[in-house]
């Protein structure tokens, strides 16, 4: 596992009233801190991607409450405030034939980051290439 591996939880949720708050209230009740939340949806269901301070407890809590979820590995590149900072990352990936599965951004008070998901087989290669470039990869969120 690369030192840049960040564990993300992907939860399958049905597209119905109260689903999201069911999950977030569970996390809040269990004092889990949400670092990032990203929801992709279709008319019937969605996938909720979460970065939290304690993945294993979160997984246990959601499992126990009947949610179907999986832990995925992603990496994060710090947002540098210049034009093309996102482009720098995707160019390196694309030039090296690494397919980007999805991406989203997160922010906090001090700075922000892009979250990237690539295929498992490409993970090491991608983080190695990026850490050698001027892109700054985060070791944790």
């Amino acid at each position: 596992m690369s030192k840049y591996t960040i564990k993300q939880l992907s939860v399958f949720i049905e597209n119905k009233q109260g689903e999201l708050s069911d999950i977030t209230s569970l996390l809040s009740k269990n004092k889990i801190s949400l670092k990032a939340i990203n929801l992709v949806d279709t008319s019937e269901f969605g996938i909720l991607r979460l970065l939290v301070d304690d993945e294993l407890s979160t997984k246990r809590i959601l499992d126990a409450n009947g949610f179907s979820l999986t832990i995925t590995e992603v990496f994060a590149a710090e947002i540098d405030d210049h034009i093309g900072s996102f482009n720098d990352v995707v160019t390196i990936l694309s030039e090296n034939n690494i397919n980007l599965e999805y991406t989203y951004t997160i922010n906090n008070a001090k700075n922000g980051a892009f979250i990237f998901k690539v295929g498992l087989a490409d993970f090491e290669k991608a983080t190695k290439l990026l850490s050698k470039s001027k892109v700054k990869l985060l070791e944790k969120i």
């Binding site: 009947g66 179907s68 999805y102």
Partner: protein
């Protein structure tokens, strides 16, 4: 293990026995019930005309409605003083059907249930956890008496209280489970939620499952999750209760105890008898019943008969697992479908559980089929396309195997309501 040597008798001696018993039964119903006398007379049949078991095709059918019309005891052929037990259906679709048993009938029932328990390898060392409902439903007490007859220890836990049942099964060291297959799965879910290790914590070796039509996939799932031999039992209260037939460990086919229950397969629409191997409605004549003998009872269950010999040594005819109910058959845009066929396709698709619900509705002039299926807990999903793929694959399989277009909706694990008895699989919203 074979309980009674009659189970492996020659066809010739079996036919002789059946003929003798049919003649007695015909005489009995003709002389003792106005209903059958009238029916026979109308068709110009005299009991003397029935010379061999093959003549059975001359006899009229009996339908569920006939029992309802004579509610509660109108078809009984003995005075109530000789009736020692009464059972009844739930009556969800009208008046309940009521059945009665004399002491002799109870002995027959215990006998066929003992055969079932022996088929599942039960000895007096075994502990039978009986989770069939006790009461007017024949399941609980039927299984109970059979287990007692082979001198096993019976735990009469009845239905419901899933968590407690799991605890009892573990603590009492049950070796044989008797329940509906959907309840067996439900208990497995509950056990795994409680962090119980099947291999270590349970001693189950076999299960006797029935009371609902079950696909191969569901059977495999139950047998896999509990790590046990799956014995399917079939029966219906109008004939005796559970114990009409049961599968041994050699195949999925169910041995019919045809020395007591004579089976035929007919075309539901025309009433014509179909040859062995062809699917149709199962019709059963009780050959030894005293309190409520029934002639050519239309069970409504769709199955077929197979006459090849079985490795276990039993020679009586076998039936395939019931595919569905004649009245359960859905016609979706002109295609005949049984829920169990859909269930089978679901069970073949990765990433899904066997918990599903079929909703049929009208969209304009066409029938629309929505199928809700729970995705499994351990499916690794991180993208919409993976879910879309599961959806597409099941829709493709349904179209390919059953020629139906269905809208599949994947839902969260455990979001479809669980039933403790028979699972509710179809919701038909059409007029």
């Amino acid at each position: 293990m074979i309980w009674n040597k009659v189970e492996s008798s020659s066809l010739e001696s079996l036919r002789k026995l059946q003929t003798k018993r049919l003649k007695e039964t015909i005489k009995r119903v003709y002389t003792l019930t106005p209903f059958y006398k009238k029916k026979f007379d109308e068709l110009g049949i005299n009991p003397k005309d029935i010379k061999s078991i093959e003549d059975i095709s001359k006899l009229p059918f009996t339908k569920k409605q006939d029992l309802r019309d004579h509610y509660p005891f109108g078809l009984f052929t003995v005075p109530m003083s000789q009736v020692i037990r009464v059972h009844s259906s739930s009556g969800t679709t009208g008046k309940p059907t009521v059945v009665g048993y004399t002491e002799h009938d109870m002995d027959v029932w215990d006998e066929v249930m003992a055969r079932v328990f022996k088929m599942a390898g039960t000895t007096e060392e075994d502990i039978v956890h009986n989770a069939y409902g006790y009461g007017l439903f024949t399941g609980g007490l039927g299984l109970h008496n059979g287990a007692a007859k082979v001198k096993a220890t019976v735990i009469p836990s009845s239905g419901g209280f899933t968590d407690r049942q799991v605890m009892l099964m573990k603590d009492f060291g049950a070796t044989i489970l008797a329940s509906t297959p959907s309840f067996a799965l439900h208990m497995a879910e509950s056990a795994s939620k409680a962090g119980i290790d099947y291999k270590k914590d349970f001693k189950l070796k076999a299960g006797i499952f029935g009371a609902e039509p079950t696909s191969k996939g569901l059977k495999k799932e139950v047998s896999k999750v509990w790590g046990i031999d799956y014995h399917e039992i079939y029966g219906l209260s109008e004939i005796i209760g559970p114990g009409v037939s049961c599968s041994c460990k050699h195949s999925d086919l169910l041995h019919i105890f045809e020395d007591h229950f004579y089976p035929e397969i007919i075309d539901s629409k025309t009433g014509e008898i179909l040859p062995d191997g062809e699917r149709g409605e199962l019709v059963i004549t009780s050959l030894t019943k005293q309190a409520l003998p029934i002639i050519r009872y239309r069970t409504g269950d769709i199955t077929s008969l197979k006459r090849e010999p079985c490795a276990c040594g039993r020679t009586m005819v076998r039936m395939e697992s019931v595919v569905g109910r004649a009245d359960d058959m859905m016609i979706i845009n002109g295609v005949n479908i049984y829920p169990s066929q859909i269930e089978h396709v679901i069970s073949q698709t990765e990433g899904l559980t066997i918990n599903y619900q079929i909703v049929v509705s009208k969209k304009g002039h066409l029938d629309a089929l929505d199928i809700l299926i729970e995705i499994s807990d351990d499916v690794m999903i991180d993208s919409i396309s993976e879910i879309e793929n599961i959806k597409k694959s099941i829709q493709h399989n349904l179209l390919n195997n059953l020629y139906i277009n269905a809208n599949v909706k994947l839902v969260e694990p455990r979001s479809i309501e669980r039933s403790v008895g028979k699972a509710i699989r179809i919701i038909d919203k059409r007029e």
